[in-house]
């Protein structure tokens, strides 16, 4: 199977985010970046599918500016065979449809059997790229997938439903799936993998070459810190002092001890 995995580079979850001047986006200057974790699960699923069948190809694809290269290298180091970087400096200004159009234009000439991506990004959280990609590519899709099995007719996938329910879905290939975390164990890149990644093909295509329309239909006008739903009493002092103060509050004020 030829599998394309669409991955996104997002701000590292441990890095503090600050609102940029103008209040329309975050300040990207001092951010640390990482691979979107649900996409890491999509990559893992692709690598395992290839290893199980003993044949095929895993291609990673990511849209974004120059910095995205480091996340693409990480995916190559984990075992992807080659990569396509959709070079685009205005990612934050595009909406979910605008980004999906770019990716779809880059995917089409590859004619993959399967397109995988994470169920949502940790920064914008649209959770739509995979579904819109399927629509633009004219392929069947399913979302929140925990397991993928190749069958004679196509695929059998395990889909997560709400409240601890699941279902199996059968579908033909080519298809698009969005992967839920936890279905597999993530691997680390080995030293050998990191070394080999340097020799793997990383092709760059520009957004302009792909000719996808950038005008957004949904515009992010402003970002702000959320309003607190409750007033939190923060207990100060050394860990010992704060712990003692908390126990006192839980006993006498909240009366839950």
């Amino acid at each position: 199977m030829k599998i394309i995995v669409a991955i996104k580079q997002v701000p590292d979850r441990d890095t503090p985010v600050r609102i940029a001047a103008g209040g329309k986006w975050i300040d990207e200057a001092d951010l640390q970046w990482a691979m979107n974790e649900p996409d890491a699960y999509a990559l893992e699923e692709a690598l395992q599918l290839k290893e199980k069948s003993g044949a095929g190809e895993v291609i990673v694809m990511s849209a974004g500016p120059q910095r995205v290269g480091s996340t693409i290298r990480e995916a190559l180091a984990k075992g992807a065979d080659r990569a396509i970087h959709v070079m685009c400096d205005d990612l934050a200004g595009r909406d979910a449809l605008g980004v999906a159009r770019l990716l779809a234009a880059a995917i089409k000439p590859e004619n993959p059997d399967l397109v995988l991506t994470g169920l949502q990004s940790e920064d914008l959280g649209w959770g739509q790229s995979g579904v819109i990609l399927a629509e633009l590519l004219g392929l069947p899709h399913s979302t929140l997938i925990l397991q993928v099995e190749k069958t004679d007719a196509g695929l059998k996938v395990k889909r997560e439903l709400e409240e601890g329910w699941f279902q199996f879905i059968e579908m033909p290939t080519p298809a698009v799936l969005t992967i839920q975390s936890g279905g597999t164990k993530l691997r680390y890149a080995t030293l050998m993998g990191i070394k080999k990644a340097k020799t793997k093909e990383l092709r760059t295509v520009s957004a302009a070459e792909l000719g996808a329309d950038a005008a957004p239909v949904v515009v992010l006008e402003q970002i702000a810190a959320p309003k607190k739903q409750k007033s939190t009493q923060i207990l100060q002092g050394s860990p010992k002092e704060a712990a003692a103060a908390l126990v006192e509050k839980l006993k006498t004020e909240a009366r839950v001890l």
């Binding site: 579904v131 399913s142 329910w165 059968e170 839920q180 949904v218 992010l220 607190k228 860990p239 909240a254």
Partner: protein, 324 residues
């Protein structure tokens, strides 16, 4: 202006997130302007249920190929209905099912679903969370055509609906879309339950939950000791269960259990919405986290900002001392 509200069925009834979506729809327009839509192979009972609510009319979108749910079936049927009705807005509850098909449906109209909306301000401006709940983003739709919106569970109050005066049940009509079996490309199987639940977090009086901040499975005993000192059950956020450090049945949140104990103590949990929806109904919420901006503090009654590896052992000692 007109609002098309797409309701969702769970186990034969219209589910609660759908009524919350109605509460959101009523912020966009008066009840007379809201058309409630139910979908399935048989919609009579669902349509009757919807007609009791403050809506202008109810449409049952009915076809044998609309049960069970498939993204292809629902997209085709609703595409035809929307072309017929030309609504200004199409509103959904932000459920797993809606996430599976609504982005594709919106795409057919050249639109983007403004998903997981937590508030609607005048404009309309739609507020949704960014950066795992650390920030809010205000979105406006530019251009023409129907505006697609889905509403986060728990963000709008469904319990205010019944108080509205109703002048008798809303009129019900049926819409039969043109569907062909060959257009439905996926074959869904029967839903089944995951592994047998042996831990009932739902009835626990006290829960100590652990999140990504614990960093290593080897450090879990720290939190287990605190739980046992408090006589609490141990819970976890999704990443801990994904890593296999604790069994899935201990997971609290949208994909795990929903809990409302007297005391919920969150250790090293940042508070992504998927977790918050599972525990924000707790009577007293305590958060221990090194990041003062973590969204968990938005719902916490008490908080300690600090290194959990220092705070948790100190708290265990303080709890034990208080019991002597």
């Amino acid at each position: 202006m007109s609002v098309l509200l797409v309701l969702e069925e769970s186990r034969g009834r219209i589910n609660r997130p759908s009524w919350e979506a109605l509460a959101a729809a009523l912020q966009l327009g008066p009840a007379e302007a809201v058309t409630a839509v139910v979908i399935g192979a048989q919609t009579e009972a669902l349509a009757a249920e919807a007609a009791q609510k403050p809506v202008g009319k109810v449409i049952g979108v009915e076809h044998p190929l609309l049960a069970p749910y498939t993204a292809d079936g629902f997209c085709l049927a609703l595409q035809q209905l929307i072309q017929n009705e030309s609504p200004t807005q199409v509103v959904f509850p932000h459920t797993y099912q809606v996430r599976d098909y609504a982005p594709a449906l919106a795409c057919r109209f050249g639109q983007v679903l403004i998903g997981d909306v937590v508030a609607i301000e005048s404009g309309p401006v739609f507020v949704r969370q960014l950066m795992q709940g650390r920030l809010n983003g205000s979105y406006r739709r530019s251009g023409d055509g129907p505006c697609f919106v889905s509403v986060q569970a728990g963000a709008f109050r469904a319990d205010t609906l019944d108080a509205q005066p109703s002048s008798g049940p809303a009129p019900i009509t049926t819409f039969t879309p043109t569907l062909d079996a060959t257009q439905i490309r996926t074959k869904p199987g029967e839903p089944f339950r995951g592994s047998e639940q042996t831990v009932d977090l739902g009835s626990a009086q006290r829960i100590v939950s652990v999140g990504r901040g614990i960093k290593e499975a080897d450090k879990l005993p720290l939190v287990k000791e605190l739980a046992s000192a408090l006589g609490a059950e141990l819970g976890a956020s999704r990443p801990i269960c994904d890593n296999g450090w604790l069994p899935m049945e201990r997971q609290v949140g949208s994909s795990g259990q929903t809990v409302a104990p007297k005391l919920y103590l969150a250790v090293g949990i940042s508070g992504a919405i998927q977790h918050l929806v599972g525990m924000k109904g707790s009577q007293c919420i305590v958060a221990i986290n090194k990041d003062p901006d973590a969204p968990i503090f938005e719902v916490a009654d008490y908080g300690i900002v600090g290194d959990l590896f220092e705070v948790v052992p100190a708290l265990t000692e303080a709890v034990k001392a208080a019991q002597q």
